[in-house]
């Protein structure tokens, strides 16, 4: 631990100032702090002209506090070379680092001076002992062995890896011992307590049954060789690993009912209570196949209700090429809506949650909210509901990059396979009809001078200033850190839902945080639970504290337990440890 920080302050009396509502989208401001923070990670996909499918799929990142110093550190997933060693010399982008390429761990040495934080990332990969040299795709950061230190679960093309956080700055490979080395092509996973036993299980999303032996050459309608679409391969089934509490996992895929549904080409996942029954559900974004919504029956059984819910297909009744997924209460009605990112010539899709008791129901509101048209030409991956402009309403960020060549687009020697696309943000504004609409934020808000081929988006308050910063990963390009500099003087408060704080920190996952306000509907936020694309974000929640007064904070845990705490102090993240709040109610159906 190198930084001095406010840490996770205890709750105390707080005063609140009115919410600052930004006058226009122009006032949303991000600073590219990649260089100043010392973030020098370059993703390498090993592209050598063979157009192996996995080259364009990775990779993601995780923001997590590995050293329990109260700030977010960064883990970045790396690609590798596919095919023969000889192909290394023909790679379109030369690998300049030590061989083999490996994932990197950056420690955040947050420097707080004059009430302003400076982010400095230090590459601690070597001393951490992490040697993740697989062809990486995604990552999950969660305390999987209940020891109070956040571990890493890395998703690969090939066997996944579990890196156990030893609590001393080092990690050890516990893949084999934990039984988590799923050998298939995994892109994302969610660590969440599916069975309510207070440890985090792993729902692993697998993509396609691909191997170099089964590699196919695909052609466009113009007869040019291009990366394949997923329909060229068979889908790889997803898996559910149940934690025994000690960090050892048992395969519960069949027992939980996952084999009752047709496998999908899974790329994205999040865990949250989506049907309002106070149980943790899982939503899977499938590429060009109907998405899955696994509703938790509370008896160890998951039931796939994607089609029934209306969240599997868009309003046209078509399966889309879903990549990333985000959950957030965009319309302030108290439940979590879903946002899916898609291929170009498909819109991204917003499913409004209209579930009523006992009847899960989503409605495609993409067109009505203005989200369809701006995303038509983009292939979007990582995404998140984020209050970019700090007005209390959840906005959207989506990072983009193609996976197939744009027809007729000029190619150069330097970039023979151009796939870059600009990223996008959409601001949640007042509108008629539905009540909320999204307007595209100014172009370039999330871009460097030239666009990259973006994939992962990990969100979190990297500088602990009460807003959401972004880490964007780029395929065959640099990872970028964007710090939110919007209205830095606005008041805020933060909460960190923890399963346990007796030994280190055990961030909860997939819990619903409700901020009850005087004379206004509660603000609802999802803490943890995954989402985005191949990435894992900050399990804490920051809320702008202007406007109506805050009455209390309510946390709905994965097992359905609801506790509440008084309003927390401003300008700090207050830990809300399970069992320390006032128990509010039991599951509605269980109540007398």
């Amino acid at each position: 631990m190198r930084s001095s920080c406010t840490g996770l302050a205890l709750a105390s009396l707080a005063t609140f100032s009115p919410i600052t509502v930004l006058g226009s989208a122009d006032e949303v401001l991000f600073t590219d702090a990649t260089k100043s923070a010392g973030l020098d990670f370059e993703h390498w996909n090993g592209m050598s002209g063979h157009l192996y499918y996995p080259e364009v799929v990775g990779a993601g990142a995780a923001l997590f506090d590995y050293d329990n110093d109260g700030d977010l550190d960064l883990y970045l997933v790396q690609g590798n070379l596919l095919g023969n060693e000889a192909d290394r010399s023909s790679a379109t982008k030369a690998w300049t680092g030590d061989w083999p390429p490996r994932d990197r761990l950056y420690r955040n040495d947050l420097d707080l001076r004059d009430d302003r934080a400076t982010v400095r990332f230090v590459d601690v990969t070597e001393e951490s002992g992490i040697a993740a040299t697989g062809y990486g795709m995604g990552v999950v950061a969660a305390d999987l062995d209940n020891d109070g230190w956040v571990d890493l679960y890395v998703l690969n093309l090939g066997a996944n890896q579990l890196w156990r956080n030893e609590g001393d700055g080092t990690f050890s490979d516990r893949t084999e011992a934990s039984g988590t080395g799923d050998p298939r092509w995994s892109v994302a996973a969610a660590a969440a307590d599916y069975d309510g036993d207070l440890d985090l299980d792993l729902f692993i999303v697998n993509y396609l049954d691909f191997s170099l032996a089964s590699h196919k050459t695909c052609l466009t309608e113009r007869g040019e060789v291009d990366y394949c679409l997923p329909s060229a391969y068979q889908p790889a089934p997803d898996g559910l690993l149940v934690n025994d509490g000690s960090g050892r996992f048992e395969d519960a895929t069949v027992r939980a009912g996952l084999t009752t549904a047709r496998p999908g080409n899974g790329l994205g996942i999040l865990a949250a209570d989506l049907d309002g029954d106070q149980r943790l559900d899982f939503y899977i974004a499938n590429d060009l196949m109907p998405n899955h919504l696994w509703l938790n029956g509370g008896n160890g059984q998951l039931v796939e209700e994607g089609l029934i819910s209306g969240a599997a297909l868009n309003a046209d009744g078509e399966a889309e090429a879903s990549m990333g997924v985000a959950a957030g209460d965009y319309d302030g009605d108290g439940d979590l809506d879903l946002f899916l990112t898609h291929f170009h010539r498909e819109t991204n899709t917003l499913y409004r949650n209209d579930s009523k008791r006992g009847a899960v129901q989503f409605r495609d509101r993409t067109n009505a909210t203005g989200l369809g048209r701006p995303s038509w030409d983009a292939t979007s991956f990582g995404t998140a509901f984020v209050d970019l402009d700090k007005d209390g309403w959840l906005d959207l960020a989506a990072v983009n990059g193609a996976v197939t060549f744009a027809a007729g687009r000029p190619r150069t020697e330097d970039d023979p396979f151009p796939l870059d696309q600009p990223n996008q943000a959409f601001l949640n504004v007042t509108a008629g009809g539905d009540g909320r609409q999204f307007e595209p934020a100014p172009a370039g808000l999330l871009d460097a001078e030239t666009p990259f081929v973006s994939r992962g988006l990990a969100t979190g308050d990297v500088d602990n200033d009460g807003d959401t910063d972004l880490v964007i990963t780029n395929n065959n390009g640099p990872a970028r850190l964007l710090l939110n500099r919007t209205d830095r003087d606005a008041d805020w408060f933060g909460v960190a839902p923890l399963l346990d704080a007796s030994r280190g920190h055990r961030p909860a996952s997939g819990v619903t945080v409700r901020v009850h306000r005087t004379g206004a509907p509660p603000l609802v936020r999802l803490a943890g639970g995954g989402g985005s694309y191949a990435s894992w974000g900050d399990p804490r929640v920051a809320i702008p504290s202007g406007g109506p007064g805050i009455d209390r904070i309510e946390v709905q845990w994965a097992d359905g337990t609801i506790e509440e705490w008084p309003a927390p102090p401003p300008r700090a993240y207050t830990p809300l440890v399970r069992g320390t709040g006032e128990r509010r109610d039991e599951r509605e159906e269980d109540a007398p």
Partner: protein, 673 residues
């Protein structure tokens, strides 16, 4: 993401043209089309056949653009080239280039539905929904009843969240052929999005009834049931859900889509071969495509087009018909087939296809024009004029269409209408010699020889090309002949012949005029010239022998008639045989007469045709053989018949002949009377 980076040759030439078109230095230039540059597309890595095809289209465009700012027919031609290029880019998913080409095509051919529609499609695929609406709206003005346009407008408005506009277009689409299910589906979508699941359910169910194979509708029905709280119905409907989407009649999109997938490659190879004039290879490719994709309209259409291009029209017609069997409502196919049949002279068959084309797409101008051609050729001139009226509704300023309509009015006997149309053409477009000639003829037909003569004289005074000048003199000669002013008629006919020595009618009428003036030898010579131009013209032959008879050349006439009767019958042989019998019986030349031969011939002819003329010749022949008793009996029967028939004008001559027979005198050279 696609970005135009640099301009191709096409783009550069357009860039040069655009300032010319927009500077407004000259009135003609100010009206020149505004063309936009076509973005360069990088074809590296693209299949060679595709690249060649695109390059060829580019070269055609560049060559056309190098000619400078296009106007008139050139602009039309350039529009076609841009449209073809746009379609090609669309097939290969090169959307920015497709959009630019189709924009230019629509600019150059503003009345082309196809370019507007495809431009809308390109914009829609690019996510430029406002531009798509604009293009589809313009397409709609050209074909208000096109079902695909209505459905697509509904869909784009739905995507834009404009529910009222979407509803309006879908409601319009309900009544249009081939789009009812899609319209109800769209209305259901609108209702569902506006929180009216009851109405949505009704529309979805109606759509399913209209198109039961569209089993994806069960999904929407299920969602509507769910929104209405009917869980059991929702689950039952979800069980029935399939993947088949709601389809609607959209032949243009189907054509493009078909070209872009699977069969596209085979067709492409064929088209490339065709473009290189490698007809046999093209035919082989298309035949392979037909074999591999027997349900492909495009394959059969392409094969037909190749065969047509090779001049094998009968085979082409067969394959067009095969394609039509697959897509009976494909307007483009109906048109192409009609065109081919017209060129083959199968006008009835052409008219049948073209009628179907315009029934389906009433705003398809070229089909109306081609239909008018078919109808005109089959003599249905008034129907042809009506078809041209429909074409003129789409292109009111088209001079040619107005001209052809007026011509059809004239040929259909609606002379007053034709007169007004031609006069308005003169008023709108200025002096025109051809119209003047036609106006003269119409005036003549209306019984206004003085007015007609003025028109022809005006034409003669203005001077004209020999064919027109010849016609004008010919008509003037006719007017004077009708007025029995033969001396004035003759020089007009002679000038008509001088301007056009092949004008048979002028020789014929000259002969008539000369005959009227008693110049029988000259008349016979004129008739002989007409006969030389058309040896099968029996009228000319008759005129010649008549003139020779009147000139006293009986021996020559006998010889000519005997030779004529040895020829295959070309019409008029009965007349010539009877005339020969008459000459044999009544010539003043003793060496010519032969009573027995005359009698045999005359009685034989009478067996076949018992007319007064035949009876009179039998009487003449009996008299020539000296059998006056029979001659008197035949002549008396003839007089009785003429009397009964009221043919009083013939009686004096008949009685005169009877008197001669009763006096024991044969009759000589009765034709001189």
């Amino acid at each position: 993401m696609t970005k135009p980076i640099r301009l191709s040759g096409v783009a550069l030439i357009i860039a040069l043209l655009v300032p010319l078109a927009t500077t407004g230095l000259h009135a003609q230039e100010a009206a020149a089309p505004r063309l936009i540059p076509v973005p360069e597309v990088d074809l590296r890595g693209v299949d060679g056949a595709v690249r060649d095809q695109i390059d060829q289209q580019r070269e055609l465009l560049e060559a056309a653009l190098a000619q400078g700012t296009p106007t008139g027919d050139d602009a039309e031609q350039l529009g076609l080239l841009f449209g073809d290029a746009g379609q090609l880019y669309l097939v290969y998913d090169l959307l920015p280039a497709a959009r630019a080409c189709l924009t230019n095509a629509a600019e150059l051919q503003p009345r082309s539905f196809r370019w507007r529609y495809l431009l809308g499609s390109a914009a829609e695929h690019l996510g430029e929904l406002e531009e798509a609406v604009e293009a589809y709206d313009l397409a709609r003005t050209l074909r208000p009843d096109d079902p695909a346009t209505a459905v697509r407008l509904g869909r784009v408005h739905l995507e834009l969240g404009r529910h009222e506009e979407a509803r309006g277009h879908y409601q319009r689409a309900i009544a249009l052929p081939g789009s009812t299910a899609a319209a109800h589906f769209g209305l259901g979508r609108v209702a569902f999005e506006t929180d009216d699941p009851t109405t949505a359910l009704q529309h979805f169910q109606t759509a399913l009834r209209e198109q039961p194979r569209a089993d994806s509708l069960h999904y929407h029905i299920a969602l509507a049931h769910r929104a209405l709280g009917d869980d059991a119905a929702m689950r039952a409907a979800m069980e029935l859900r399939g993947e088949a989407p709601v389809a609607f009649a959209d032949p243009i999109a189907a054509e493009i889509k078909e070209s872009a997938t699977g069969i596209g490659a085979q067709l492409l190879l064929g088209r490339v071969a065709l473009a290189a004039n490698a007809f046999e290879i093209a035919e082989e490719r298309f035949r392979e495509a037909v074999r591999d994709y027997p349900d492909s309209t495009a394959a059969k259409r392409s094969l037909a087009a190749a065969l047509e291009g090779m001049g094998r029209r009968a085979e082409a017609a067969m394959w067009y018909q095969e394609a039509l069997n697959l897509s009976p409502n494909d307007v483009g196919l109906l048109f192409q087939t009609g065109l081919l049949y017209n060129s083959e002279g199968r006008y009835q068959a052409a008219a049948e296809r073209l009628r179907r084309a315009v029934e389906i797409e009433p705003s398809f101008g070229p089909a109306w024009v081609e239909l008018a051609r078919s109808l005109g050729e089959t003599g249905d001139h008034l129907e042809a004029a009506e078809a041209l009226t429909r074409a003129l509704e789409l292109a009111p300023d088209d001079r040619n269409l107005r001209f052809h309509r007026a011509s059809n009015y004239r040929l259909g006997g609606r002379r007053e209408l034709a007169l007004r149309e031609f006069e308005s053409l003169l008023a709108d477009f200025g002096f025109d010699r051809e119209i003047l000639l036609l106006l003269g003829r119409i005036e003549q037909g209306l019984g206004r020889p003085a007015s007609a003569a003025r028109r022809f004289e005006q034409l003669v005074e203005a001077g004209a090309d020999p064919p027109l000048l010849s016609q004008a003199h010919f008509e003037l000669g006719n007017i004077r002949t009708q007025q029995e002013r033969y001396e004035e008629a003759i020089p007009h006919y002679q000038r008509a012949i001088a301007a056009n020595p092949t004008l048979k009618e002028a020789y014929f009428n000259l002969g008539t005029a000369l005959g009227r003036l008693g110049q029988f030898t000259e008349a016979a010579l004129a008739a002989r010239r007409a006969l030389q131009l058309d040896p099968g013209d029996s009228r000319a032959r008759a005129a010649e022998v008549t003139a020779l008879l009147l000139a006293g050349e009986d021996a020559r006439v006998r010889l000519m008639l005997e030779q004529t009767l040895e020829l295959p019958d070309q019409g008029g042989s009965g007349f010539f045989a009877l005339l020969l019998a008459e000459v044999l019986a009544a010539s003043e030349d003793d060496s010519v007469r032969d009573g027995t031969m005359a009698l045999n011939l005359a009685t034989d002819l009478f067996q076949r045709a018992q007319t007064p003329a035949h009876g009179a010749v039998v009487a003449l022949a009996y008299a020539e053989t000296g059998d006056f008793e029979q001659a008197i009996a035949w002549q008396q029967r003839l007089i009785e018949n003429l009397d009964r028939a009221g043919a009083t004008e013939a009686l004096p001559d008949a009685r005169e002949r009877l008197a001669a027979y009763q006096a024991g005198r044969p009759v000589r050279a009765p034709w001189r009377r």
